[in-house]
Symmetry: C2
Subunit: 155 residues, 2 copies
């Protein structure tokens, strides 16, 4: 498992600071049954997210977190991680998939890579950064694969 | 505003039942400041999702819900809505954008439309349904535009 960053003191990133290929690794988050059921009860009340016994007869074969829970935890990991975008992390659009179910006991960690940096033609004070964030568990399984377009200000 | 469905008794939908162009309208969910701050504190702790005063000087110009909160509420509206997919709502991949910020006091409603139905070539017992879900507030503003690929079993 990759080591987590050890500093809370990260510089503000402007569009001009972003280098294609740069990678940022988050802290980790350990998930348990209670968190999975609590989130699912409120936002995704389906049997495979609520009850391990009921989940056994489904495609998941056991309790799994809602994909939206994995996405929300990933956001928390990104926002508290080393890439601190000036003006905040403001997503314009997102694509995501969940190749492997997120399970109780999983320890989640998000790694983000800058894929593209595109200054706005109409608004010289900002641009779009395309960031790909992979969320893995402690075994290296890919739980979520996300590509985000963020609005980032220029210096 | 469109009227919400009035029955909790919905038939299970198999891939064979899905008609391109069919639309499904959810119930509504009213959002308030406490819900916005509670979700953001846990999953998206940025000033514009936590504090109205701090949010005024940001791009949002005032408190706004995390996009992941809008996504999670939308999931709740879909799962409790009239389209009940056999085997549950299992997303393979998703694209989404948030054209308008979600605000305190917004009443959210999700409308889903079947865009495509594609039986699997390798697995005759299932297929992929492409569903576009638009989440609007009470003024008709589009808060979220999502296209989901769902795995749906065949009869």
């Amino acid at each position: 498992m990759l080591s987590a960053p050890d500093s809370e003191h990260y510089p503000m990133l402007y569009l001009d600071d972003l280098q294609v290929g740069a990678k940022y690794l988050s802290k980790t988050h350990q998930l348990d049954v209670d968190q999975i059921i609590s989130f699912a009860s409120q936002f995704d009340p389906q049997p495979f997210h609520l009850d391990d016994e009921a989940a056994r007869s489904t495609l998941f074969g056991g309790l799994a977190a809602s994909g939206w829970h994995t996405a929300a935890i990933t956001m928390q990991l990104i926002v508290t991680g080393p890439a601190r975008y000036a003006g905040g992390m403001i997503g314009v659009g997102v694509e995501l998939s969940w190749p492997t179910p997120t399970r109780p006991g999983d320890i989640l960690q998000a790694e983000s890579e800058v894929e593209a940096v595109t200054p706005s033609r109409s608004k010289p004070d900002r641009g779009i950064a395309t960031i790909r964030t992979i969320t893995r568990n402690q075994h290296g399984d890919v739980l979520q694969d996300m590509r985000s377009k963020l609005m980032v200000p220029r210096r």
